[in-house]
């Protein structure tokens, strides 16, 4: 098995779900055994329940999809009472994903969740394009100082490894990544969806109710790969690659560019068995190529 050590957390393989595309795993457990996954990253939660954005929330084209969900979720208590007991039945690591309006809210969420032994790590969502943050200054992760403040607040409250999830829609990703590392992040997840729009010429309306949304799927893979490669050379902490991973080969490309693990997002909608099949495909590639350890491939891009 292609084991991975992520900031002290041992995953049985590098395959994780991407937040928001897997719920809390319950629906996918009808298709395959979640214990075959390295980790399940749950839908982002906020302190209180959130309604989400006006429909329609989904649009697509041949290369990918646009979503404007707006972090609809039932809140932290529901998560603790429903998702964690469910996931406890499986032999996999559980990541909570959190979002708030300011560093204080992020810290409060981290403190609440850290009391839960059934949660193994926290992913800080600093990069959702579908919510406007209190400060009205775009994504949190577009500002190095704000990112660092939030990471520090979560680190101070959390007793588990903390991963900061960033966007590629920033002027210099290495600067943001370093700021998160210095603030204590144990790892980074790269990348979230890209802010984007689709338009219906017939109705002259935007394709989603919130006008714009987040782009995901195969079309963002080249952007995500470059982001991972750039950041890999700029920081020491492990990187989880995400963005357009549709099959095992895509996942292996991310590992070559420096990712220690990968997250499967929109591919789950196309193929409900995607996580399982990608984990198997990675295993097969390692065996065929006589690779024993992920470090033999990670970052080994021939330049």
């Amino acid at each position: 098995m292609v084991k991975v050590n992520l900031a002290g957390l041992e995953l049985k393989n590098p395959v994780m779900s991407a937040s928001g595309t897997f719920g809390y795993g319950e629906e996918f457990a009808e298709f395959f055994d979640l214990s075959l996954m390295g980790a399940v990253v749950c839908k982002t939660i906020t302190l209180k329940q959130r309604e989400g954005n006006k429909p329609p929330r989904i649009a697509d084209f041949s290369g990918g999809m646009l979503n404007s969900i707006g972090l609809e979720n039932k809140g932290a208590e529901y998560f603790v009472q429903t998702a964690l007991p469910f996931l406890e039945k499986y032999d996999t690591k559980v990541f909570a994903s959190i979002a708030g309006n300011d560093a204080g809210e992020y810290g409060a969420l981290a403190a609440r969740l850290s009391a839960e032994p059934r949660m193994h790590a926290i992913e800080i969502n600093l990069s959702c394009p579908n919510v406007t943050h209190g400060c009205g200054r775009g994504l949190f992760c577009q500002n190095a100082q704000t990112s660092a403040q939030i990471v520090a607040a979560v680190k101070a409250a959390a007793k588990k490894p903390v991963f900061a999830k960033l966007s590629a829609m920033v002027s210099d990703i290495t600067q943001i990544a370093r700021a998160c590392q210095e603030a204590g992040a144990d790892g980074l997840t790269l990348i979230n969806t890209l802010p984007a729009m689709m338009v219906d010429l017939k109705t002259r309306k935007p394709a989603v109710g919130n006008a714009s949304g987040g782009l995901s799927g195969g079309c963002i893979k080249p952007v995500a790969l470059k982001t991972v490669w750039d950041v890999y050379r700029a920081v020491k902490i492990p990187i989880i690659g995400s963005g357009g991973i549709m099959n095992a080969n895509d996942a292996l490309e991310f590992i070559l560019c420096g990712a220690s693990a990968v997250q499967i997002g929109s591919a789950n909608f196309v193929n409900p068995l995607a996580c399982k099949e990608i984990a198997e495909g990675i295993e097969e590639y390692f065996q065929k190529n006589n690779l024993r350890d992920i470090t033999q491939l990670r970052g080994q891009l021939k330049i």
Partner: protein, 256 residues
Amino acid sequence: MKNFKTEVLENIKLGRDIFRIKFKPQFAVARPGQFVEVLCAGAGAPFLRRPFCIHRFDGEKGICEILFRRVGRGTEILSNLKQGDMLDITGPLGKGFEPQAAQHHFIAGGGMGIAPLLFLAEELYGKCGSVKIFLAAKTAAEIPCQDIFKQFGEVILSTEDGTAGEKCLIDTPLERALKTAPAAPAIYACGPHGMLRCVAALGAKYKAHTQVSLEENMACGLGVCQGCAVEVKNKDTKYKMVCKEGPVFNAEDIVW
């Protein structure tokens, strides 16, 4: 629900842009109103699966059909499939219609909204009381399977151009029948949003229990992504998910 690959047993063109695909399902049970998510594969294929209601189903014989209109690239790809081509299907999904213990059942289908109603008519037929089936479309050619519907109840047609049945929208014959019904019937409807709003209002006016099957753009179809939200009159949540809590809802619960 299951994900499986299966052969196209038959793909028949039933009218301009209307097709019916038959395949062998790998599930033994399904409810009228439930749907399947079909992967459209090939050049220029849309990224996401496309949802289609189960049009006809026979678990014992292992037959499932979808009826659809070609409106974009995904349905164009499906319309070109030949016998023996492979389909990738997830289903059955969602919650279907719940037959009511009423004496009279009114089924109302507009446009491609007729798709799930044949399966429903078949189920209601002979079980309890009488079944009246109201079918409406822009023009006669868009009501493809009226003859099959006739086996399961009285069929009342209306078209916008008068090429079949009465020249009017569906609410005219529906209201007439509601007015003269001896007891409040149960209504089951599927069709364009405007039509459903109208049927919901009639149902409320005549105190008929009304169920509607809604559509919304979907990503997962499983209830995980919160993509297919519809606004409901509910204290706990503003939205419900069409794919999991629907597609069939009680009309009175929807914010029209």
